[in-house]
């Protein structure tokens, strides 16, 4: 009885764990043989799922014994789930990594550094640096993204505002914003988004000459008056009612408002191309312009890299796959259907895919791009950013006070890293 109860429990555990362990159990026998191997590949972007499957199939053509299982976890849960999976030893063999999380994973040794000598000159330097920790490269850049101003041509015409010039400034932007706002029609110039720092606050902070974190990653830059100026850029827009207030944006995200013709401009990434060219409302109404110039020109550059789990049972195959994903042919496939490939010289396909849009804007921006600010536990101070800046966005606390509180809180967190 005891024995059978125990085996029953074991069976139950096995059933429960089966879904989590998945492919990890198969083919534990040595690598390099002709055993069938299935590599799990963790990704978060549903719009890229098909391209990733295509790339997987392409890889299988040259490596017939390796099948790729693309596992999609929506962005909102991706990192939560990944952390649990890594802790439980069930991480995908290969998965997407981003800047804010990279140092956490690398410093804890849960992803494998690249041992082989690779030519990194084919990728933008900002991205190679982003995925280098203590002198070692951990991932090959897959794609890259910069930020631009998406705008609604119809609303610009209706307000008799000329489309943004390539060299427009903060002053030009503010002038246009005032003209584009039409309270009667419920149209705002822009949604001063709080939650997307990469597209909003970080850009204006660097444009104002401020900084988010010191280069050594030890000190917060939020008490720098120039940084605060970059934040005020947005809160001023809310105060002038040229942007919806935070309550409205909490109920309906700015992206949805833009796609409903309620916002004339939307600061967004190059990745928004897929969305805006598909959406019925925006597909023939939008174009894109560079970000306006403040004290200097700046845009945040970021890109996703493919990394290999330290616990993978097939390190050789996983590395082959990552190498393939970082290669020129893979970049060619990606560029036609997805984001901007990171591989230099393959980006023109991406621009050519939509001749109706000025996509060259995103490539030109690389010249003055600033890397996405990160440290070892980026998530901890990103939470603090929201906690403190929410109060500035609602107007409950003046911006400089909120920024000072944030700087203090962030410095405490950085000291603990």
């Amino acid at each position: 009885m005891w024995k059978s109860a125990r085996s029953g429990a074991a069976l139950l555990c096995a059933v429960l764990l089966a879904s989590a362990c998945g492919g990890g159990e198969q083919a534990g026998t040595g690598a390099g043989t002709q055993d069938k191997v299935t590599l799990s590949y963790g990704v978060w972007d549903a719009t890229q799922q098909a391209v990733m499957q295509e790339l997987g199939a392409e890889f299988t053509k040259t490596h017939p014994n390796v099948a790729i299982d693309v596992q999609l976890t929506p962005w909102a849960d991706y990192w939560t789930k990944m952390k649990a999976a890594v802790t439980g030893g069930a991480a995908p063999d290969v998965f997407w990594m981003n800047g804010p999380n990279f140092q956490l994973y690398a410093s804890n040794g849960v992803i494998k550094p690249i041992e082989e000598q690779v030519d990194t000159s084919v990728y933008p330097k900002g991205l190679v640096d982003l995925y280098t920790y203590e002198g070692k490269l951990y991932g090959l850049p897959k794609d890259m993204d910069t930020v631009g101003v998406w705008y609604n041509k119809t609303l610009f015409e209706a307000a008799k505002v000329t489309p943004p010039a390539d060299d427009w400034t903060w002053a030009d932007f503010k002038e246009a914003a005032a003209k584009l706002t039409d309270a009667k029609k419920g149209v705002y110039a822009i949604g001063a988004e709080l939650t997307s720092f990469q597209e909003y606050q970080y850009n204006t902070i660097y444009q104002a000459g401020g900084h988010v974190i010191s280069p050594d990653g030890k000190k917060s830059g939020y008490d720098d008056p120039k940084t605060i100026e970059g934040l005020k850029f947005w809160t001023d827009l809310i105060a002038a009612k040229q942007s919806p207030d935070l309550k409205t944006m909490t109920d309906t995200a700015p992206l949805q408002l833009f796609e409903a013709g309620k916002l004339a401009m939307y600061w967004g990434g190059s990745w928004n191309v897929a969305e805006f060219t598909k959406n019925d409302y925006t597909k023939d109404k939008v174009d894109v312009a560079p970000l306006p110039k403040g004290e200097k020109q700046a845009t945040i550059i970021h890109g996703v890299a493919n990394v290999v789990s330290a616990k993978t049972e097939h390190p050789a195959e996983a590395w082959e796959f990552v190498k393939f994903l970082g290669s020129k042919p893979a970049a060619g496939i990606l560029g036609k259907k997805g984001p901007i490939p990171a591989y230099n010289g393959t980006q023109s396909d991406w621009v050519a895919a939509h001749p109706e849009l000025k996509l060259q804007v995103f490539l030109d921006a690389v010249a003055y791009a600033v890397p996405y600010p990160v440290s070892k536990n980026t998530a901890a101070w990103q939470e603090a950013e929201l906690t403190h800046l929410t109060k500035a966005w609602t107007g409950e606390v003046p911006v400089d006070k909120a920024a000072a509180d944030l700087a203090a809180g962030m410095n405490d967190l950085l000291a603990k890293e």
Binding site: A5, A9, T248, T252, N377, E383
Partner: protein
Amino acid sequence: MTTTAGTRPTRAAHAASKRRFRAEALWGYAFIAPTGLGLAIFYLWPVVQTTYFSFTEWGAFGGHTWTGLDNYTRLIGDPEVGRALVNTLTYTVLGLVGIPLAIVFAALLNRPGLRGVSAYRTAFFLPVVTMPVAVAMLWRWLYNGDYGLVNQVLSVVGIDGPNWIADPATAMYALVVVGIWSSIGYNLIIFLAGMQAIPKELYEAASMDGAGSVRQFFRITLPMLSPTAFFISIVSVIGSLQLFDLVFVMTGSGQSARANPAYARLQTVVQLFYERAFVTNDRGYAAAIVIALLVLIAALTVLQFRLQRRWVHYV
């Protein structure tokens, strides 16, 4: 001779019955073993582990060091813990309104001669079988300040409704309404069962004595239902204190919940636990938060059992 002959069988029978009793007990244990084991492995062991973890500090991907009472001292000084506790208790207390509401609906459904009782019962019970996440998504849309149905209806009568779940003044009430709406069906079914167990003779005797239906409700139905009400209040207080899914989806999912201006009024203890455990990698501290919650739940439940002597009537 006769005596010994008489006692020996008795002793033997006694021993035999003792053996039989033991054998039966063994079988009993054997039969509850699967459940018992499941409970031990999936409930008790995690509680023991979590208690241990609450005295440790964790790395992002496992590995921990003993830090003694550090997490608990930090807990006491953490303003977010206090705030989450106040929010959770507010939700719990306001949520108790659902109990009298469920009794009233149950009494209406229990009226003799009412047609289509099962249809009503199903309608009330539907939210209970719907996934909380789906319920929360639905209400998020209903509550939308600009496009939500609630404000559309209000605008017909000339009221400009607020952004219900993004406005610190209304968010908690909006949440409580959803909480009551989704739990009323369950409570109602239990109360209906309770009402149907009240002997008919009591009502017959009361009407012979000239008591009307209102008086019967207050003098017979309510007191006879008090054990049921006690059970419901225990269950719903525990449920409210553990509130997570509803508030997690309604405030916004993941980190963006903190960008909700009403977040300071909505954040619950379990939500704070979630953030510490899964967002900022502070698992030891997260464990301390839930252990504190466990203690609070236990204390409130004991208190309720003490207080029941004053108002619960057992027949």
